[in-house]
Point group: C2
Chain length 461, copies 2
């Protein structure tokens, strides 16, 4: 039997144990955005360090001002390429908790109409995905004694909260972390049978705005009329962010957004994306995006502005006739092409300030700010990976865009001069960031086998 | 010494004990809008029953489908007028709790630049105010053995949550509760030295709207663009409720709103209301109301539309790139003249439904709906009360409007054919419905003395 055949057999025979290990990781409540869970994030990092060490990989926890990084090295494949594998062990908050059918940190295998799934917060995003790579490495090491390429591991604990420590960490550890190529497992398949490599990522700009008027909450009977109402001001400001064509009104917002090249549009059209099915899956029927584009263009090549949260006044049960002192909203922009996040941040803030009536003030809190990324697929690693995926899934792997944002890809490019190859096994119905997140058991198992193959294909580079 | 002189002396000598009794009532957490405090509301009702009984007044708790009523009778003054005194023992919620300088249900006397104040939720609205009347009755009974007029007492526990049980209760107990005149102590002074009788009240319509789009929360990267965002839809709808002159856009909203009679406007102008001081007290400087009216006109004679609460998406610490499944707002309208609350409710709902894009649905929850009220001051009781107040405060009492809503006044009129005489001792800076609510010690003490005098003046009717 070839080395690869042995490795794949080992993956299969170790499948149940792999699930048990993933469950251990899924039980850790590593919600990075909420300081209440800081200790759980440390627990997540320590768990990964121990996991890598158990494979004979030199690994350590690296503390930061935020949640820790985990770094590991397996650099024994002389004259072979060197890849950096990146994943994140932190997860999104779980609210609204009442919409979960089980406790989010109590993972289980569930039977569904579409086969078995692993149900838990982080099952797909990103714990299940990062474990596909670790398990592939385990099978190689257990079978062949070592990995076919040199691998540096980098696991982050702040991906879901804007990665504040990432840039300083990459800058400080540039030499240690730079490899020929980064592998990132945080994306999805084209569909349940078609693997894909993501070659475009949208950027992300996150802003929180708080409008303040009076110096205290007021009674709407005693002050309603003459007193400014921050909720009304906020809704006016937010309502003005789009025109009647659904275009974002922030000055120069579309600077750097180029028309889609005809060739790319042709490839996307050939994917036969079913807009009705896509929207129907979440009980929608009409494309609510900017006029003149298909849903796939909206998701992969058009920028957006979304309100992700809004809060003001009395929101409990019953009614309270209050004019609140303040109101706030969380607003994010998905960016494409060469849009400049920092320029857009300034223009957005200018827009808000200009809308502000007398007596009102605004404060801004910045969250993420990362540009979009487009990969150069002429690198041989892309085509080799596509072939490895095609072998495993017995179906042509495709190049696709991605509507989400993985800021680390931009940082790898800018700071370490390193391109990223994005392979993942998530599906559109995984409900990441939502209640009842899941990861198909097939995604997990064939994901491990896919990486086992990719590692070998990359060794030919 | 005259009877009244004896009564007033008794009020003065019993002042400390009166505060102790008020504190007992203020310690009861009778927040009516939150079901969590239902037992505290019962406690509040029982406390009042015991209080009246201790004065030899026949009193009982009357349970309703909501929080209980308290009814008492002292009907021993043959051939004298019969008044119904109304107050409410429930209070507003206390959030945001972190803005309170002390626990809201731990009352205390505090020294301030403007004299001593009683600090607690409900100190002014309405526990402190209703106790001014009970204490005046106590002094009459302790000194003279009985009250100079016939009094029926009615205390409600749902005033701050839309009074759902009030109308059925008044209808069922019409004979028991109907008197010559209602006395309501839930309004304010013109200023700290000038007592006032409120002769106009705005009505109130409360609506809660919830917009739903997708059947679950979505990831803004995976769905941002094509998927409808309920927060964005809600902000658009709310932003359209006012035109650029600050007028409410709901169809027929101003039907029944008449221009202010020249005579009334003249009287109001003579009050020399200081708009800058009024707004400056809450750190505002510019009248933000409908163009073309003074602040006093806004507060007393113009209708408004206010957003009292808004909620959607992720509002915790940090950031979450979610497109929520739903978003909601609490909206209220202050009404004047002959505006019809039910017609406005329908027109408001029509407006919302018409703004709703494809794939979205809306649900409405109704809260208060009461019309505005204007009193007929030709009733001798009004002028007698004005003279009693003028005597106590040694300053001419005035007739004034009131921007708030006291729905019970409309119900007394419609259901019991009884006019209301509104006298209260609150001040604009009492911070009712806000953190750090207070009631001036002078308001409490001279309020008691005022009622002692009013009871005697009313006995001359």
């Amino acid at each position: 039997m070839s080395s690869l055949a042995n490795v794949l057999q080992q993956v299969d025979s170790d499948a149940d144990a792999a699930i048990t290990r993933l469950f251990d990781l899924l039980k850790i409540q590593s919600i990075s955005t909420d300081p209440h869970y800081a200790k759980d994030c440390i627990k997540g990092a320590d768990w990964l360090v121990a996991e890598l060490q158990s494979l004979g990989i030199e690994a350590s926890r690296r503390d930061t001002p935020g949640h820790p990084m985990v770094v590991g090295h397996s650099l024994k494949a002389d004259n072979r390429p060197h890849v950096l594998f990146y994943g994140h062990y932190d997860v999104q908050p779980v609210d609204p908790l009442e919409l979960w059918d089980r406790q989010p940190f109590d993972p289980a295998i569930e039977e569904t109409d579409n086969g078995k799934v692993i149900r838990a917060r982080g099952a797909a995003d990103d714990k299940g995905q990062l474990m596909t790579f670790i398990e592939a490495c385990r099978a190689w090491i257990q079978t062949e004694g070592s990995l076919p390429v040199n691998v540096t591991f980098l696991f982050e604990g702040e991906e879901e909260s804007g990665s504040p420590s990432l840039v300083p960490f990459l800058e400080t550890h540039k030499d240690e972390l730079t490899a020929d190529l980064a592998l990132v497992c945080d994306t999805g398949m084209w569909d349940a049978n078609t693997p894909s490599i993501c070659t475009m990522l949208r950027g992300l700009l996150g802003e929180e705005i708080t409008i303040t008027a009076a110096d205290k909450d007021l009674h709407s009977g005693m002050f309603g009329g003459p007193a400014a109402n921050p909720i009304r001001i906020l809704t006016n400001i937010l309502a003005g962010l789009h025109d009647d064509q659904g275009r974002v009104t922030v000055v120069d917002f579309y600077k750097g957004v180029d028309p889609l090249p005809a060739q790319v549009k042709q490839q996307w059209d050939s994917l036969n994306f079913n807009e009705s099915d896509f929207l129907g899956a979440v009980d929608l029927s009409v494309n609510a995006g900017e006029q003149g584009y298909t849903a796939l263009e909206h998701l992969w090549s058009r920028p957006t502005c979304e309100i992700n949260g809004i809060d003001g006044g009395y929101t409990g049960e019953g009614f309270k006739t209050v004019l609140p002192a303040k109101a706030s909203a969380k607003v994010s922009f998905r960016l494409v092409g060469n849009q400049d996040p920092l320029a857009i941040r300034e223009n957005f803030r200018d827009y808000v300030r200009k809308q502000l009536p007398a007596d009102c003030s605004v404060t801004f809190e910045d969250h993420a700010a990362s540009p979009a990324t487009t990969m150069s697929i002429s690198d041989r690693a892309f085509e080799n990976t596509r072939l490895a995926l095609t072998e495993e899934w017995q179906n042509n792997a495709v190049y696709a865009g991605c509507g989400g944002s993985i800021p680390v890809v931009g940082y790898f490019d800018e700071l370490l001069g390193m391109q990223s190859l994005l392979v993942g096994f998530g599906l559109d119905d995984d409900q990441i960031h939502s209640p009842n997140e899941k990861y198909n058991l097939t995604s997990f198992h064939k994901g491990i086998r896919s990486w086992a193959r990719i590692l070998q294909w990359l060794s030919r580079n």
